[in-house]
């Protein structure tokens, strides 16, 4: 059994909201002077009764317990303000927890933001040494790794150029290269892959996989990009409002996260766009009885009812629907036949009557186009979820059997 390398035990972090002090001595003194004579606080804001109360405190993390085994790549997902960065800050010892404790085996290095600690006037080489030392490396360790770092970052030619002349891509590559070659037992990575070109992103993901699988190092990875979390992390945790909402296999956690995010909304209304010839007004996701619902068993029949408004008589109007997987792969797009409208409200109903999708959450995109020109597209926050069922004509479990589960027509003949 692999060793536990990070162990969070009931870790909580409390932040005092509002101003702790007034920030200047003179105001602190005048407040103290006024309060000591029994007058009201001259610095407090109008309507503010007391400076301390329960609403002035925020538990950025509450009672987080989990552990990570050696060689695991753990993804951390959650919305804004869920506590992801607080968790990383505590882990990288930038701030202290309020209660609880974390025990760590091995050296930990964090790659939180690109170029932290780089000095623009220093050369690439000097910055490699500086950055390595900031991350806790000894000078001779860096010297040993220098060639590898430079080759990985691909900055050989610019090694003795001040980094302020580097492109942002080179900056990122250099920073990542230093951290990745640091050989920490634990590597903490926060959103660095957002920058850099596609090739470098692949390289980073490859390096991280390599680091965890072949070298037995542990990686903590925070990202908004669910696809890269999915491709990298075997296990994940999902934070919500400072609480550990869910932990386990990455696929399950991501589904939980997506479910949670959509809050099971099955009815959407969109803003009128009067300056357009036509615009989308609403979307309803229903079952075959026209009940509003966005979660189905994967052999259920379901409908998308797309409302739109035409401001004029329009020729060649097309309504389209796209279905994306949680990896952002466009699984399917469906277009209505071009049709002609008069001025007025319409509803296009798309009925799924054939395809069986594998269990999971899918994103829906809807769009309107005229003469092959897209005039409106809505792609945020519309989700549909399928849960696993036993298929009618199959005895096979549906999980991990591909995205589309329909049978083909199969003939077995004796020949």
């Amino acid at each position: 059994m692999a060793k536990t390398v990070i162990h969070f035990e009931n870790v909580s972090k409390l932040y005092q909201l509002g101003e702790i002090s007034t920030g200047t001595i003179s105001r602190d003194l005048s407040r103290w002077w006024a309060l000591s004579r029994g007058k009201s606080d001259p610095v407090s804001k109008i309507g503010e009764v007391s400076r301390k109360g329960p609403d002035k405190e925020l538990w950025a993390l509450s009672d987080i317990s989990f552990e990570i085994k050696q060689g695991e790549v753990l993804g951390i997902i959650g919305g804004n303000g869920a506590g992801k960065s607080t968790l990383l800050k505590i882990l990288s010892r930038v701030t202290k927890p309020t209660t609880g404790r974390i025990r760590i085996r091995g050296r930990i290095a964090s790659l939180l933001e690109v170029g932290t600690g780089f000095h623009p006037d220093l050369t690439g080489r000097e910055n490699i040494f500086l950055n390595g030392a900031i991350l806790g490396m000894r000078k001779n360790e860096i010297q040993d790794k220098l060639d590898e770092i430079v080759a990985f970052a691909g900055v050989e030619r610019y090694l003795d150029t001040p980094v302020k002349r580097y492109s942002s891509g080179m900056y990122v590559r250099l920073a990542f290269a230093v951290a990745a070659h640091l050989e920490p037992e634990i590597l903490v990575i926060d959103e660095v892959l957002a920058v850099g070109d596609a090739e470098f992103q692949r390289k980073c993901i490859g390096k991280m996989k390599d680091v965890s699988q072949n070298e037995g190092r542990t990686v903590l990875f925070v990202s908004h990009n669910l696809a890269s979390v999915k491709s990298l992390c075997s296990k994940s945790i999902f934070l919500k409002n400072g609480k550990l909402e869910y932990q386990g296999e990455t696929d399950l956690v991501i589904n939980q996260y997506l479910n949670n995010q959509t809050q099971n909304q099955s009815e959407f209304y969109f803003e009128a766009k009067e300056n357009q010839e036509a615009y989308l007004t609403s979307l309803k996701i229903t079952d075959h009885r026209n009940q509003l619902i966005n979660s189905f068993l994967n052999n259920d029949l379901w409908k998308l009812k797309i409302g739109f408004h035409a401001n004029d008589s329009i020729k060649n109007l097309v309504v389209a629907v796209g279905i994306l997987t949680s990896d952002n792969i466009l699984l399917r797009s469906v277009f209505s036949n071009p049709f002609q409208t008069e001025m007025g409200n319409y509803e296009a109903v798309f009925i799924e009557n054939d395809i069986v999708y594998s269990a999971g959450t899918y994103q829906i995109i809807i769009s309107l186009s005229i003469n092959n020109h897209v005039i409106q597209q809505i792609e945020d926050g519309i989700f549909i979820t399928f849960e696993e069922t036993q298929l009618q004509h199959s005895f096979i479990k549906t999980k991990n059997k591909g995205l589309i589960l329909n049978q083909m027509k199969i003939e077995i003949l004796s020949v």
């Binding site: 001595i25 552990e67 800050k89 930038v94 760590i104």
Partner: protein, 300 residues
């Protein structure tokens, strides 16, 4: 332990945790005691301190025309001005020493103190970004500043030394060095200690009171006039002398002058006062710095 809606999962994981009571390398716990300063870790980061020093030195003059020459130009011009204004126009005594040597010495040692103090006092504000992202022993920053200031000092001091040797070989009256010149490194340590501890103390306070930053720039100037830099302690009347001696820097400057020129008005007790002052302020400021270091990311 609270068992929420996810208690089941937590329990599942708790079960696996039972094998984990071996040795751990690092334990992150809530704020610990006042005296909990990890010196060993600071030592482990010595390469970082040296690289910070290098960065400071290289970065300061990298894109200047004259480069390190600035280290010389600044004290030369200041001495020139002081000779004219304080020496010739105001006719303030230089205690029998050549004017140039008197002012240059004062400026050189004062610059060092001032540089240590001002630069270290910006520790938290200037490194806010870095401190917010990476952990390393925070004391590494002010320590590196004191060391890089020491390099600048040594360059400026060589200028003083050349001037001093010139006067020495020309047997100029008022330049009579004595054995206490051997104590010079010790004076330097005292100066560093004072500048460092004042600096990190102010740095800790500025995380709470930003307006202190504005106080420093003119405060340090006032302090210079409360130190015998442009005048010898000798000319202060008894009424004010004790006040000047309350300033722990005074006796160091006077001792420095005494060592190189034989003119200086200082007793062992005054020096002892400076030593004690440095030890106590160093002790207190490190504790306060250490305290602030642990909480300041939550406050800024």
């Amino acid at each position: 332990m609270e068992v929420g809606p996810h208690g089941k999962i937590n329990q599942l994981f708790d079960h696996q945790m039972s094998n984990s009571d071996e040795n751990w390398d690092l334990e992150i716990v809530p704020n610990t005691g006042l005296f909990d300063i990890n010196w060993r870790e600071l030592w482990q980061y010595r390469d970082l301190i040296l690289l910070f020093v290098r960065r400071d030195l290289v970065a300061t003059y990298k894109q200047t025309i004259l480069g390190p020459l600035w280290f010389f130009i600044q004290p030369m011009l200041t001495t020139f001005m002081y000779v004219i204004i304080f020496g010739n126009m105001a006719q303030i005594s230089t205690d029998g020493s050549p004017k140039i040597l008197f002012y240059l010495g004062g400026i050189t040692i004062w610059n060092y103190f001032q540089e240590c103090l001002i630069k270290t006092s910006e520790t938290f504000i200037a490194n806010q970004n870095l401190f917010g992202k990476v952990y390393f022993p925070r004391l590494a920053t002010p320590i590196s500043i004191v060391i890089s200031s020491l390099f600048k000092f040594l360059i400026q001091f060589s200028l003083f030394l050349i001037t001093w040797l010139y006067f020495l070989f020309h047997k100029t009256p008022g330049v009579i060095p004595n054995i206490t010149i051997l104590l010079f490194p010790f004076y330097l340590i005292l100066m560093s200690g004072l500048g460092f501890s004042f600096g990190i103390l102010i740095s800790s306070l500025t995380t709470r009171y930003r307006d202190l930053r504005f106080v420093i720039s003119f405060g340090i100037q006032l302090l210079m006039y409360a130190t015998p830099i442009v005048y010898p302690l000798e000319i202060a009347s008894e009424k004010y002398k004790w006040l000047l001696l309350l300033n722990p820097v005074t006796s160091i400057v006077e001792a420095f002058r005494y060592a190189f020129t034989g003119h200086g008005n200082i007793s062992c007790y005054n020096l002892l006062y400076s030593i004690l002052f440095m030890i106590i302020s160093l002790f207190l400021s490190v504790i306060i710095f250490n305290r602030v270091e642990k909480t300041f990311m939550d406050k800024i």
